[in-house]
Subunit: 334 residues, 2 copies
């Protein structure tokens, strides 16, 4: 186990990030969480604890080395950007705090002063107004690791299922032309390596979905399965990676089918996210694979509409913290 | 409650249809199933009971009127096309039996001699070789009712969720151009009327999905939400139908979101079927809405690979029989 704590970015301070961090800290013993520290926002977190009327003493620290010692008694927060807790009222001031927290937290993990990064939800539109210029946090992290954006692969992981969307934020109409055999092979290799390294699955079994209904039914409803997907599966198999498919996506996520694979490579956003959110909504974790750092995030947004009311479910944040700790420990042991 | 029994088509005799029918009959009391009769296949069913080593006496009858009386003691089967039970070995001889059984069963329901139709799974490719010339059983049924194919709407229904795929068996690349405001309005009206008439939901709440990830995020990833879907929702609301959306499809099927609607109108096959099969795999029922007859079907295929082994789960067939009985009873009362 690494001697360093996990580091959490604050997320948008007007969203549910601060309260989830506090709730996770309060459940640190019950859930067996490894020590974590928050990058900035000590006052925001103190005010959030007051608003939520939960006891959560916040302690400012100057270095991640101090976190483990005080974690049992207080929520450790690194000196950094700060502000006021204004739940449900997002603005550029708060977005600047979120952006600085993300950069500070990332630098600590990249520099080796934290074991892994857990990011709380941000509002991308607002973050762009204060200088964030990436499609998402995943691409920012690849850049921070001096890697091309496509080196980082997003995986959604819940207790029931792990899925990887091969295309993400593009119109559905563009999905067919964005898919390529190379894309599937490259991502498949990254996923197989990461499942072995970070998840302890020695010979991961990848299921690859079809694009079309019934995986095209032998070319009757589209030919991407034969033209693009099957050759990628053949190439992965030639690499020694256990890959099957193209599978009809509708049946792949049934309870019986799910026992047959460790992760599903899916052709587009909703194909990957519908089953994870249907089955594991309050426990879904977004994991970034393929980077020299470990990073996880709860698979939900800022939820400005319920922020500050104590109504947000901390399950996904706690799952993200647990998963980050486990992945970091496997890397340290590996 | 109608005085007439339900009628079941045999499905492909080499698939799991015969054994599911036998298992459903054996659970008739435990599951409170209303009496049903099978259209043809008495010998096939007798042989299947022998192969499966389950006691299920088959009794040939000439008219649906005889079914209710003997249902407690034997599985009633109407005189009709028959053959041998050859599980796992589909051929055109079996397909002809399946095709005749489907036509016989449909004619009985259309003619008023049966309360509702439950169809067992067929193999469409084989059925086409013996004269079946429809995209699927749903379109055949519309035709048998002297209605255009698009009068019949397929709904998938499980204990957790009901979904309607607005486009079905076409390449994913063609989905955007196949969608139209008219299509959504027409199907929405049929679904709302059917949920009231057949499912007893007085003011059904329809959730309409977006096509693109995050429902396009205000036009950033595609504009079908604004151009096609939102105007349809407005038109349905103007009709007095409770319709909401366009909803991001990935979050719509989470446990919390599912409490907010009675059925989801989905833009394409996998968007509708992934969540139903993930959540309700062994209990998913395919219901045909919009026809003068009630028709249901288990939402799975012939499963030739496991046929005759007693390994097929009868849950979806039993759910289809139960749902057909309930819908028929509501119509009889209505």
């Amino acid at each position: 186990m690494s001697q360093f704590p996990l580091v959490l970015s604050l997320g948008d301070p007007a969203g549910i990030g601060p309260e989830l961090i506090i709730q996770a800290w309060r459940e640190r013993e019950a859930k067996g969480l490894m020590p974590f520290v928050v990058a900035g926002g000590a006052q925001i977190l103190s005010q959030a604890a007051e608003v939520l009327e939960v006891p959560a003493p916040v302690q400012n620290i100057a270095s991640t080395h101090e976190a483990a010692e005080i974690f049992a008694d207080a929520l450790p927060v690194l000196t950094g950007e700060d502000g006021d807790y204004l739940p449900g009222a997002p603005d550029v001031v708060g977005a600047a705090v979120a952006w600085n927290s993300l950069r500070q937290a990332t630098a600590l993990v990249v520099g080796g002063d934290a074991a892994a990064l857990v990011t709380a939800p941000i509002a991308k539109g607002l973050l762009e107004q204060v200088g964030f210029a990436y499609p998402g946090q995943t691409e920012f992290l690849a850049n921070a690791c001096d890697l091309p954006e496509d080196a980082a692969v997003m995986m959604l992981a819940g207790p029931s299922l792990r899925t990887i969307p091969l295309t993400v934020h593009c119109p559905l109409a563009e999905v067919p032309q964005r898919l390529s055999t190379d894309l599937i092979i490259t991502r498949g290799r990254i996923v197989a390596a990461a499942l072995a390294r970070d998840f302890g699955i020695t010979q991961p079994r990848l299921a690859v979905t079809g694009l079309n209904p019934h995986a095209g039914e032998d070319g009757k409803f589209g030919n991407e399965e034969q033209a693009i997907i099957a050759p990628a599966i053949a190439a992965l198999l030639a690499d020694g990676i256990t890959a099957t498919g193209p599978h009809p996506a509708d049946a792949l996520f049934s309870p019986h089918s799910r026992t047959g694979f460790d992760a599903a490579l899916c052709m587009y956003h909703d194909q990957a996210l519908i089953p994870v959110k249907a089955l594991d909504f309050d426990q879904g974790v977004n994991v970034t694979l393929g980077l020299p750092i470990v990073r996880t995030s709860p698979d939900h947004g800022t939820a400005f509409d319920i922020a500050g009311k104590g109504a947000a479910h901390p399950g996904a944040m706690i799952a993200a913290i647990r998963m980050a700790g486990l992945c970091a420990a496997r890397r340290a042991d590996g």
